[in-house]
C-alpha cells in the first residue's frame, strides 16, 4: 500500500469535476492538536515522543471504523529520506516532518483524502485535502477524525484559550484552512500585488506554492487564514470561502479580458509553451511549471480545444525533483539527467493524453 502512495503521482486532490476547479486546485484543512500531559514535540524526549506515536497507533482501528476509511500507519523513521520528500511533494506531509523523522509517524488514508502527522510541530496534525473549492467537506472530515482521536485520548485544551498548540499563532481552533489557486491572469495583468495587499488586511495570508510570490512558480498561490483564536471554525472557513470566491471572479474576469484584448499574444504564448513541453529534450522544474501554467490556461480558455486534458496537477507533482528521482529508480540523478527525464515524462504524458 505504501508503494502505491509513493510511486503513484496521483492523489485524490488532483481529481477533476469539483467546484471552480479550473482555478482552485485544492482545499486543505489542518487541525493542530496535542495530547494532555506530554511536552510538545520540540521539548519532548525520545520516550515521550515514542509514547505519542504509540498512542496514535492505538487510534488506527478507530479511524478505520469511520466511513470510507482505510488508514495505514507509516513509521517515518523506517522509510528513506527520498520517500519522505516524495510525500512532501504530494502534499501529504510537511518539509519539517520529512527532515526530522526520529519517532515521527504518519497515519494516512489510502485514498489520500486525509492524513495525520504525528510529532510534527504539534503531537497531532490532522490534514484533509479535497479537490477544487471544497473547504466544507475537507473540514467535516478533519472534524470527524478529531472526534475519533479525542474519544480515546485526552487533548490539551483550555476553556479560555481553546486547543493548546506549540506555536501561539495556532492557539484556539488550531485550524488552518487553505486554498491552492492557479492565477495566471491576475499575474499577467499585474493585479496580484493588489490582491495580496487587500487579502492580508483581512486576516488572511497569501503565499506562492513553490517559493515566495515570483512569477516563475507556475502562477500557483495559496491563501489561508492567519487567525485561529476568537472565531468559530465555521466563521474562519466562511470568511476564507467568500474571499476565495471573489479572487476566482477576478481571475475569470482577468482571463476574459486578456483573451479579448490580447488574443494574438495570448494564443501565441500558449502554443509556444505547448510546443516546448511537447518537444523539449531537457527542461528545468521552474520552466516546466511556468509552461504548464500557460498550457493549462490555454485549455481553460479553449485555445487548446482537444479535451480531455492531461491532469496538470499530476504533472506538477511528477516533475518535482524528488518524485523524478524516485521514478527513475536510479541511485542519484544529476541535474542534467533530471531535466532530461522531466522533459521525457512531459512529452509522453502530453502525447498520451492526445492534445
Amino acid at each position: 500500500m505504501i508503494e502505491n502512495l509513493l510511486d503513484q503521482p496521483f492523489a485524490n486532490w488532483m481529481k477533476d469535476g469539483a467546484e471552480d476547479d479550473d482555478i482552485v486546485l485544492a482545499s486543505r484543512i489542518r487541525l493542530a492538536r496535542n495530547l494532555e500531559g506530554i511536552p510538545f514535540p520540540q521539548r519532548a524526549n525520545i520516550e515521550q515522543l515514542a509514547k505519542v506515536v504509540s498512542q496514535m497507533h492505538e487510534s488506527l482501528d478507530d479511524l478505520n471504523a469511520m466511513k470510507q476509511a482505510d488508514y495505514m500507519f507509516v513509521d517515518l523513521e523506517k522509510i528513506p529520506l527520498l520517500e519522505r520528500l516524495v510525500l512532501v511533494e504530494k502534499y501529504i506531509i510537511s518539509p519539517d516532518h520529512a527532515r526530522k523523522a526520529e519517532k515521527r509517524a504518519l497515519l494516512v488514508n489510502v485514498d489520500t483524502t486525509a492524513s495525520i502527522m504525528v510529532n510534527e510541530e504539534d503531537h497531532i496534525r490532522i490534514q484533509s485535502i479535497m479537490p477544487g473549492l471544497n473547504l466544507t467537506e475537507a473540514f467535516s472530515l478533519a472534524d470527524q477524525i478529531d472526534d475519533t482521536i479525542e474519544n480515546k485520548h485526552d487533548i490539551a485544551f483550555n476553556e479560555q484559550l481553546g486547543y493548546l498548540t506549540a506555536c501561539p499563532t495556532n492557539l484556539g481552533t488550531g485550524l488552518r484552512a487553505s486554498v491552492m489557486l492557479h492565477l495566471p491572469a491576475l499575474v499577467l495583468t499585474k493585479q496580484m500585488n493588489h490582491i495580496v495587499n487587500a487579502v492580508t488586511q483581512i486576516g488572511l495570508t497569501v503565499r506562492g506554492l513553490y517559493g515566495e510570490g515570483s512569477e516563475a512558480n507556475g502562477n500557483i498561490f495559496q491563501i489561508s487564514n492567519q487567525l485561529a483564536l476568537g472565531f468559530t471554525e465555521q466563521a474562519i472557513i466562511d470568511n476564507l470561502y467568500n474571499i476565495v470566491k471573489q479572487v476566482v471572479d477576478h481571475e475569470r474576469a482577468g482571463r476574459a479580458e486578456l483573451y479579448r484584448e490580447a488574443t494574438d499574444t495570448l494564443v501565441d504564448r500558449v502554443w509556444r509553451s505547448y510546443g516546448i513541453l511537447r518537444y523539449a529534450r531537457s527542461i528545468s522544474g521552474q520552466e516546466a511549471l511556468s509552461m504548464l501554467s500557460d498550457v493549462r490556461l490555454g485549455c481553460d480558455l479553449g485555445i487548446i480545444d482537444k479535451s480531455p486534458l492531461c491532469n496538470f496537477n499530476e504533472l506538477m507533482v511528477i516533475t518535482r525533483p524528488n518524485f523524478l528521482q524516485k521514478l527513475s529508480n536510479q541511485p542519484e540523478l544529476d541535474s542534467v539527467e533530471r531535466r532530461q527525464l522531466r522533459a521525457t515524462i512531459i512529452r509522453e504524458k502530453i502525447k498520451q493524453e492526445g492534445i
Binding site: N34, E36, G37, I38, P39, F40, Q42, R43, P95, R99, E121, D143, D146, D147, E150, N151, D154, I155, A156, F157, N158, E159, Q160, L161, G162, Y163, L164, A166, C167, P168, T169, L171, G172, T173, L175, G203, L227, A228, L229, G230, F231, T232, E233
Partner: protein
Amino acid sequence: MLCSDCKKRPACVHITQIKNNKKTEKHLCEECAKNIGAINVSFDNQFQVQDFLKGMFNQEFFADAQTTNEVICQDCGMTYGDFNHKGKVGCSNCYIAFSEQLSPVLTRIHGANRHTGKFPKRSGGALKVKQEIKKMRQELEQYVINEEYEEAALIRDKIRSLEKNIGMDNKEA
C-alpha cells in the same frame, strides 16, 4: 563571464553595492556567493512566522525584563526567556505559567484572547457544563441577596442536577 573571486566558475550572482555614494559591482559564482553569504539557498533557512513572533514577545511590554524572562513553567522547565527566543512554547502548562505575559500578546496577534470555537466532545463537555454552573452560582448568590428564595431554590436544584450529570456531586457532599 568568470567569477571575480575564484576566476574558475562562471559568474551567476551579480551584486551591486552602493556604499557612501560609491558603487561597487561583484560577479560571483554560486559557490563564492554562498561563501560570502550573498545568497541563501539553504532549505532550512526559510523565514518562518516564529521569527516575527520573537519580535512580538519581546520584553518591552514588561517593566522588569529580567524577572519576566525568569518566569518558569514547572512542568517542562521552559522559561519565558526561552520562549521569547524560540517563539514556541514547550508544553500545554506553559500557557498557564506565562499567562500574564502572553495575554496582551495574544490579543495583538489574534485580536482576541478567548476561544469561541469547538470544544473537545468527551472532556470538553464537562468543561462547558462547569462554565455554566459557575454562571448559575453567581445568579444564585444574587437571588439570595435579593431575598428571592423561590428563584434561588429553583436554580439551586438546576445546579445540583448539572453537577450530578458530570459527576461533581460526590465532591460537594
